[in-house]
Symmetry: C2
Subunit: 557 residues, 2 copies
């Protein structure tokens, strides 16, 4: 029942549910010959099509049904981006079961935790993760069977995994006359756990409705602009918020799909971009760093790539400059969250911006852009009162929309929503044109003498220095100012910069009290399972660190 | 309650209804300064914006509420494409009432019929239609008040209309603090009557859900491809299936909107296209004929127009050739129906077609294209069995989707749907790539000696002759062959062609038995209220016509 008032006069249109199965069926019927190209774990390039994907996903659906998978049951995957993973996406959700994509970069203990929390019935996995699954299998109590997504001849001769099946056997054992069932569009479709920095991971349970609406909205010209002429390579993993919805929005658009498998290094990606004439790609800044470095070192250019979506973390200005100015790629700076399916905003210029000088245009492109249609944004103060959209006032960012979470899966505790809005945990500004700019994660902001210092801007500035590869800024306790910024840097191989040069580099670029109190050079930054810098680890590691300014009670920071 | 099975596990996303008010709110927040430019009945160009439209539509909503309009009540309009009509679109539907757009080209008796059938509570109308409303007002029994959409100083000093209000007075009497109500997305939003060729017009009652989903799907890159960089001029009237949804898909995309008002002649349209730098337009072939003729006669070119949607009737090949080859415009050949909100398919090439020679590409562009995502198509034989997608087999076209009708408004009688599918009344082929080609309306097909002859192809061929302006082909009773084609032509002013030349023109271009048995030249074709040729009138007019072949029982047609 709808929780909203019913009009005395209802529309007289077909009540057809929005279902994920409709997407692959549509792609097979209208773009059946369009390719799905996958770099396999086996090393070779595999060529499939939407027609073939539809056929095999129906076989798999029938196979899972025969194995006892019912509507609402969870079926997990531990897999890279590839055609079999795509088939599983449609087979599992399309049949009414729930696809639970597990991030293989989590610790085994976390994998066991979420597998048991979700009560997964089956686990489909890539050959890469055989040792991992052998490690955790016995502890995943609810799993009735493990399905290895590889050719028959690659199946291990010996393994400790009970009830191990070959994916191709399941497919081959069934015909493709399966008809996708119709059911309520609010039924659960996929499950993805956030790799929270504290506490246990929490599950986000997407519905068919939320997934299809997100696919519509994210393919729009103002969002990712996916059409049948595109060739799309999702670098963002299918175990990371459904690869930002691309396994849905790309077939919906009939575009050619290219999956990179496990080979996410710069060279492998570049070669695949070129050989398959990729026009559009999506990923986090870290992965683009590898690609850009490979291309610069080897003096390569893109021959087909036209645009790139960058999300998951703020795109450093230096990276955007390289991509746009050096490589001639259009950059769409996007923002979202696991709790948002994930797309919330997408960057880009408006007509009126075309008259601005290039550096002002760049400032706009560095913002995270506009809400995509369906998402509502607002910023509020600590008191919950809405703040103005003036591009200056910072507030806690809240969101609303049909693909935004209402509660976590099987999660006890406090209400997630605040008066119907989801608190993102981000601090942001919104300007008069509705452009969002993320200032920081609430918990990463540094409070110095009653004023907020945003760490993203400091890190972006630091990465503008040619010798800086990566940067992270954290707050360190200070006897006078409560907190002061400490900048942690990883140097670019072969290049040098000193602490003093770095501090001087900031001068004139930001307010004086924002300049870090100290700079430390470290070998590497701790990265989380989704490619983000783990600042909580850095804060833990440096919690006893004494800033050089800490003794000078009278100094002006 | 959903009529579909519920999963034991439901998704945990926000249950936010898809409402029309969300579109204008979004446009106002994110593209608030983007313009709505209208050529007014008053003659001048009026400039508004999404922010202003949102403000005034909330005032109007409050005004209508104060006048006693409740949720589900019908509010009618008799108006051209303009900013006030757009405000009414959002005010009426957004507040939960139902916008009933009346086609002013209907006969007064039909207007009275549908107004009473719909039980309209208020009628908003343009100054153009003052005499019409004065004629029908007393017979529209349910209407409590008439609102004239004009400036205060244009209000008539004297009128027989009881309870006549000025639109601007209603707006001015209210503040813009109105908050759009939330209600079930299946609530009725708009009502549009088909101008059926037989019997009374029938009402199609759209819901908020169907309207918003249609807006998402129609703005996609593979469909109309509307983005914030566009300037869109809908020539198709807002009283004709909601101007193909553009009043929703354009603000959703933040594009600039240009309304032509009542000035739909070639010169006026051309001047507006140029002065407002229109990039994209939509309309029926008849209106493009006027524009093309004006431009050719005056040797004009487009400086900003990039693409055009042509629908409502098949685009004649000669028109497409002129638009593409001469004017350099991309043509999107679309197909839909009032019963489909209206968009069903949109034409265009696929990547693989780019390698084809231009004439083969043109043949593909002349088809009505692909289903837009959300619409399902199939063709069936007289026995209801599904026919193959081979591009050759003709069948009755059936459709399905969340913005397709399930039943007509307050319409007694036989079920509209056939096993859940809506029978369109069109005969079509679908090829292996899913491209639809409408062969004819079922009732227009000519049955000759047991074989079908499609009239659209005959008319398109005829219009390929330089001296032919318009063509209509109808079946005439024939003693031997049941029916034979009669071709009715309107000559292009100043050009000549004879019956014999015309018949010769067909030779070698189509099967011999398709060549019409006779050609008649007439001054004009009867056009319906939506700009389509009324073949039923022609059949009536020529029902006693004796074909020259009718006496020759032994002749081979």
């Amino acid at each position: 029942m709808s929780p909203y008032p019913i009009s005395p006069l209802m529309g007289q249109m077909m009540s057809q549910p929005l279902l994920i199965s409709g997407i692959i069926e549509f792609a097979a019927r209208h773009y059946g010959g369009n390719e799905i190209v996958s770099r396999r774990i086996e090393g070779d390039l595999h060529r499939s099509s939407y027609r073939e994907c539809h056929r095999r996903s129906r076989r798999l659906a029938k196979g899972l049904q025969a194995l006892g998978v019912n509507m609402g049951d969870r079926v997990a995957t531990l897999a890279w981006n590839g055609y079999r993973h795509m088939e599983a996406y449609y087979a599992v959700s399309g049949s009414g079961a729930v696809l639970h994509t597990i991030n293989p970069r989590l610790f085994p203990e976390q994998i066991v935790y979420i597998c048991n929390h979700a009560e997964d019935q089956f686990l489909l996995f890539d050959l890469t993760f055989l040792a991992l699954v052998e490690d955790v299998a016995a502890r995943c109590k609810s799993v009735k069977g493990f399905i290895l997504m590889c050719d028959r001849e690659r199946m291990p001769a010996k393994t400790n995994i009970q009830n191990l099946l070959c994916y191709e056997d399941v497919i081959d054992a069934h015909t493709d006359d399966y008809v996708w069932p119709m059911f309520d569009e609010n039924s659960a479709a996929t499950l993805c756990y956030t790799s929270g920095t504290t506490g246990h991971p929490k599950g986000v349970l997407y519905s068919h409705r939320s997934t299809v609406l997100h696919a519509y909205a994210s393919a729009l010209p103002n969002a990712l602009n996916v059409g049948s002429f595109d060739t799309v390579l999702p670098v963002v993993p299918m175990f990371h918020v459904n690869a930002w919805g691309l396994p849905y929005s790309v077939p919906l658009s009939g575009a050619k799909m290219v999956f990179p498998g496990a080979a996410l290094d710069g060279k492998s990606l570049y070669e695949l971009f070129e050989s398959e004439k990729v026009t559009f790609s999506a990923g986090v800044p870290t992965v683009w760093l590898g690609l850009i470095n490979f291309m610069l070192q080897n003096q390569r250019t893109f021959s087909s790539l036209r645009r790139m979506v960058i999300g998951g973390a703020a795109c450093p200005p230096a990276m955007m400059a390289t991509l746009i100015d050096h490589f001639g790629v259009q950059v769409i700076h996007a923002w979202g969250m696991t709790e948002m399916s994930p797309l919330g905003t997408a960057g880009g210029l408006q007509v009126k911006h075309l008259a601005l000088p290039p550096d002002q245009q760049r400032q706009i492109l560095l913002k995270q852009g506009h809400a995509i249609y369906g998402v509502d944004l607002k910023i509020v103060g600590d008191d919950g009162m809405e703040l103005p959209w003036d591009g200056v006032t910072c507030g806690h960012l809240l969101v609303k929309g049909p693909w935004v979470i209402s509660s976590y899966f099987r999660h006890e505790g406090a209400d997630v929503l605040q008066n119907g809005w989801f608190p993102t945990g981000d601090v942001a500004t919104i300007d008069a044109d509705g452009y969002l700019q993320i200032t920081d994660r609430s918990k990463d902001m540094i409070k110095s003498g009653g004023e907020w210092i945003g760490t993203i801007e400091l890190e972006n500035l630091a990465m503008g220095h040619p010798a800086v590869l990566q940067a992270a800024c954290i707050g360190i306790r200070h006897p006078k100012w409560d907190e002061r910024p400490l900048l942690l840097l990883v140097k670019r191989p072969g290049l040098e910069v000193t602490r003093e040069e770095m501090l001087q580099f900031f001068e004139g670029k930001i307010a004086k009290f924002w300049i870090p109190d100290d700079v430390l050079f470290i070998d590497a930054l701790p990265m989380g399972a989704t490619g983000k810098i783990q600042k909580n680890k850095l804060r833990e590691q440096f919690k006893e660190y004494r800033l050089p300014t800490a003794g000078m009670e009278s100094s002006e920071p």
